[in-house]
């Protein structure tokens, strides 16, 4: 009887802990849309939104109100089931990855021993959201955007996985905890520098950040795959993108920047700090780099990044065999 009771309390506790973390992540994702606008403005010598609230902090509330009260319209010409499903997948798929990320060695949701694989699965699933969104909208711009997105994501997925394999080979484990433990002496970014670069690029392409924002290039495609979406469905795509940004940044932190390791400060702060710096770097990239042409992106992926990744993997394997 007591053990059942104990289990029950444990489950409730886990449930609320998870809920809390999810809430924090979604809140951060929403907040990022404000932070990005301010930081982007800082890089471009502007001010950005600074009218609502203190320094514009309540801008996000204003955006929320606007989005919630917009007409949530499902076009009559669309395939409505897939149309509704797409933003949900987009929102959920990378949010789930957050569950395997170790914030510190105590604070985490699950300790999955196939952590890296889980991340790859979920990132592969996120393609479907764009595929469904583009296809079910029955709109040529949406379709063009999703075609681009899929071609881009499929070709970058190849070395998204391969660039991780050097890290995995070094720590002999798919478990993210073991990967962080293996970086106690030296962060993976130094021995695995080319792996880091290619994973970074592939991660950018995965969450469609600039300069890999082909699928939603506003100038030519008028927002690409989510052109027909309005109201909260659009909001889910929008926040989903920021959540995927957080996920990629924290994955890079865990895999290459030594997770929670760092001197003096508490572990959690180190993790947060590194992730935040990476996100700021994402925004800096958006401010500075122009968007390449569609074919150039695929060319860059297959001709440059894939060979670098493979060379890096072979070199790592060679070194591991040697010592």
């Amino acid at each position: 009887m007591t053990s059942i009771n104990y289990n029950f309390i444990n489950i409730i506790f886990c449930f609320f802990k998870t809920l809390f973390i999810v809430f924090i992540i979604v809140f951060c994702g929403a907040m990022l849309s404000f932070i990005e606008r301010r930081v982007l403005a800082l890089f471009q010598n502007r001010y950005g939104p600074n009218r609502v609230g203190w320094f514009g902090l309540l801008q996000i509330v204003a955006d929320m109100i606007k989005m919630l009260f917009k007409e949530d319209w499902v076009p009559s010409f669309s395939k409505s089931f897939l149309f509704i499903l797409a933003p949900i997948i987009s929102f959920i798929s990378l949010l789930l990855v957050m569950s395997i990320i170790p914030f510190t060695d105590q604070k985490f949701i699950i300790n999955l021993n196939i952590g890296v694989l889980f991340f790859l699965i979920m990132s592969a699933l996120s393609v479907y959201s764009i595929l469904f969104a583009g296809w079910s909208s029955n709109n040529k711009y949406a379709l063009l955007g999703s075609i681009r997105a899929i071609a881009q994501t499929l070709s970058y997925e190849v070395f998204l996985g391969l660039s991780l394999m050097g890290v995995v080979a070094q720590s002999h484990s798919f478990n993210l905890f073991d990967i962080v433990y293996s970086q106690k002496k030296i962060w993976n970014i130094f021995p695995q520098f080319f792996g880091f670069i290619t994973f970074f690029i592939a991660g950018l392409a995965l969450c469609h950040r600039h300069p890999f924002d082909q699928p939603e290039s506003e100038q030519e495609l008028a927002d690409g795959y989510h052109i027909e979406y309005s109201g909260m469905k659009f909001g889910m795509f929008f926040i989903g993108q920021y959540i995927s940004m957080i996920v990629i940044a924290s994955m890079i932190t865990v895999l290459f920047l030594g997770g929670w390791y760092g001197p003096y400060l508490p572990k959690f702060l180190w993790f947060f700090f590194k992730t935040f710096i990476l996100i700021l770097f994402f925004i800096l990239l958006r401010a500075s780099l122009p968007r390449p042409r569609y074919d150039q992106i695929l060319y860059f992926g297959w001709i440059i990044c894939l060979p670098i990744t493979l060379l890096n993997l072979i070199f790592t394997a060679f070194l591991i065999l040697l010592y």
Partner: protein, 175 residues
């Protein structure tokens, strides 16, 4: 594409990222307008006013040139005559919801009566309020042209020689 150009391209990207990063420490170009009032030069073309001559009389002689030249036809006025035969405008209206602030009326006006001033804060909640009548258009000063008085330079001598009797200077090119 050879290795050299790949490396070169890589470093150009790094360079442009670095240049953007440096902009973080630069001054912001945006002016926070309602808090910091903006300076506009006196010849900025904003609201249209009707000025008075140095003697404090209306300059406008209702010649209709401004109304004709206005590309959006937003000036409407009607001529009237006082007992000495001097023309003046019976009513003078400018519809600021149509005015494009081109300044052509100012150039066309022979008496320098109509002038554009650097005031651009014209927005209103009611469109009807944007139709300015003569009373609201006229200012009490001379505007940009302080000394100019049309009748000092030209004008036919009218009945009873009522105001000015300076003869026309034929060597002067001014109107």
């Amino acid at each position: 594409m050879n290795i050299k150009s790949i490396i070169f391209d890589f470093f150009t990207q790094i360079r442009s990222i670095f240049i953007t990063f440096k902009h973080m420490f630069d001054m912001r170009e945006t002016r926070l307008y309602p808090e910091n009032p903006i300076y506009l030069s006196p010849r900025y073309r904003g609201r249209v006013v009707l000025t008075k001559d140095p003697n404090g009389k209306d300059r406008c002689v209702a010649c209709n040139l401004c109304s004709v030249v206005c590309p959006v036809s937003c000036i409407s006025l009607q001529k009237s005559q006082d007992k000495y035969g001097r023309w003046f405008s019976k009513f003078f209206k400018i519809n600021f919801s149509r005015c494009i602030f081109c300044g052509l009326c100012e150039e066309a006006c022979p008496t320098s009566a109509i002038q554009l001033i650097p005031d651009f804060e014209l927005s209103d909640f009611d469109r009807k309020n944007l139709l300015y009548k003569k009373k609201y258009l006229t200012i009490s000063g001379t505007g940009k042209d302080h000394k100019y008085n049309f009748y000092d330079h030209c004008g036919v001598s009218i009945k009873k020689k009522y105001m000015y009797n300076i003869p026309i200077n034929v060597k002067d090119l001014l109107p």
